[in-house]
Amino acid sequence: MTVLTAILADSLLTDTITKFADAFAAIVIFFGVLLLVFFAAARATGRLGRPLTILVFLGPAIVLLLIGLVVPALRTLFLSFQNDDSTRCVAAGNYAWAFTSDSIHQVLLNTLAWIIIAPVLATVLGLAMAVLVDRLKRQAVYKSLIFMPMAISFVGASIIWRFVYEAHDPSQPQIGLLSQIAIWLGAQHPPNWILSHPLNNALLMVIMIWVETGFAMVVLSAAIKAIPTEILEAVHIDGARGGQTFYYVTVPMIRNTLIVVLTTVMITTLKVFDIVRTMTGGNFGTQVLANEMYSQSFVQFNVGRGSALAVILFVAVLPLVGYNIVQLRAERGIR
């Protein structure tokens, strides 16, 4: 037994060292090549110097973006008009499938519910916290605790919440907090939460809200503190009470930030597939677009359908990100 453990520990150690050595070697090679190129390019002077500098500095990023995003995105668009093993063109067939098939109908409806309910609730709770926490003692503690889920992976968050939703047979003691609370509140037979449609969709959204409320709170809190105090002072002298000031000054002044927070959480929500994948695998009527895209592409290898779903996702995200970009550019223009 000790020998076996020793061998196991030994192979584990070798394995660990090899992996770290790989990563370390990659880092050394990467920065070595970088320094070498820098050294060589810095020697070039005269007319060649400037274009060479630009090439060395900007070249790697542009190449990575072309190979990693631009070309693949165009290819996905192309693949979405092909059949599932990309041998023949099916025109808009994949899109027709996406919008007419019954199973995808449910997926699109779920996705719509997700991108409305989760971002709105996260933003409202975040705004409430940002406004209310301000005058409590030890506000940094409350803020940190609300913000903490942002650091946790969606997989970790899903496991945390799956444990909350764990349901045992009513004859046994419950180990999931939600079931126990239901019993304390007088329920005789709490349901198996994850299996009860459509409640399970709401329960999955709770995870998203749990993660994103901290983000909304931090960004909105910073925006509220950036409101010039002269304005608040003037309103105060004019006789506005606190509540009025909040509705007529604070909210309009942070309107842009509110919308940016809302759209940002919407984009995250549209693209998140980790939660559904870890919690239900998309079963029990909880499937969403991003996870369906993953299943079609990499589980069932329906490349055409998967690509079409990716394009639909892109088109859905486009106006939201577009709005954020315009907003950001406008703000930077003013500055």
Binding site: L12, A23, A26, F30, A41, R50, T53, I54, L58, L64, L65, G68, L69, P72, R75, L125, L132, V133, D134, R135, K143, S144, L145, I146, F147, M148, P149, A151, I152, G156, I159, I160, R162, F163, V164, Q172, I175, Q180, S221, A222, A223, K225, A226, T229, E233, H236, G242, T245, V260, T268, F273, D274, T278, G281, S297, S307, F314, V321, I325, R335
Partner: protein, 309 residues
Amino acid sequence: MRVEAAPDTARVQPVAAVKAIRRSFSTPIASFFVILLTVLWTIPTVGLLVTSLRPGKDVATSGWWTAFIHPSFTLANYHTVLLEGGFGVSGGLLPYLVNSLAISIPGTLFPVAIAAMAAYALAWVKFRGSDAIFFVIFALQVVPLQMALIPLLQLFSGSIIPGFNVGGTYIPVWIAHTMFAMPLAIFLLHNFIAQLPGDLMEAATVDGASHFRIVRSIVLPLSTPALASFTIFQFLWVWNDLLVALTFAGGSPQIMPLTVRLAQLSGSFGSRWEALTAGAFVSILIPLVVFFALQRYFVRGLLAGSVKG
């Protein structure tokens, strides 16, 4: 976003109006709401931690909240999941933890270096079209990762360029994370680097310093706060990522990171809660330490940026 103040920095003495707003929300109901929400937000994580410290027999038969009445704690679950498996499978999570580190560290350093170079060129080596290039890079944030996955997987597995097959190594994961980080990284770092004092650069140029020298001795030292913010952001992103890891490393346990492994275990061995909670806590421990130690930088990065992926 214009706002840049960290949320918990010391503030100036509030004026009467600010006080008035605060007062009007300063009812016991408001305090109750804040405390209630904070407790609700914290309890699930506490439940995870407590459960991971209880013996398996207790976990299966009683709720974790009863552990405070009959305390019985052990670190055995951590020993089991890290080294022995404990999910009815051989092999613990330790190799996957190593994989997560081996993916995250290069996956953070590579994009930071490349993006910093590009950001400097776009901000200080002005040429015809540099503004247009910056805007296009910035606008590429609209492309969801999902749009790029299928073709990239085909590329890395050698089905586009025959003979170029790096599947089953860390290389596709590193490259994919580096690629996907570019738009946000260049945008954030450009914002910061473009605001560095131009006099310094001019003086250095007059003294005959090359751009490479300026980057090394002026730009990099002065950009440390921005570089730190983005580094933390990117590290947490890569560490917590499931989509990229599942696509490019999901097939081979040799390179699979913790998130992928946990997602698998959660599906197939979901009833062994003492092991699953310990495994989950192992995976969230490093992000939580990074988060609490460097929260200020993380917040700064968040406020300066927008969306990723």
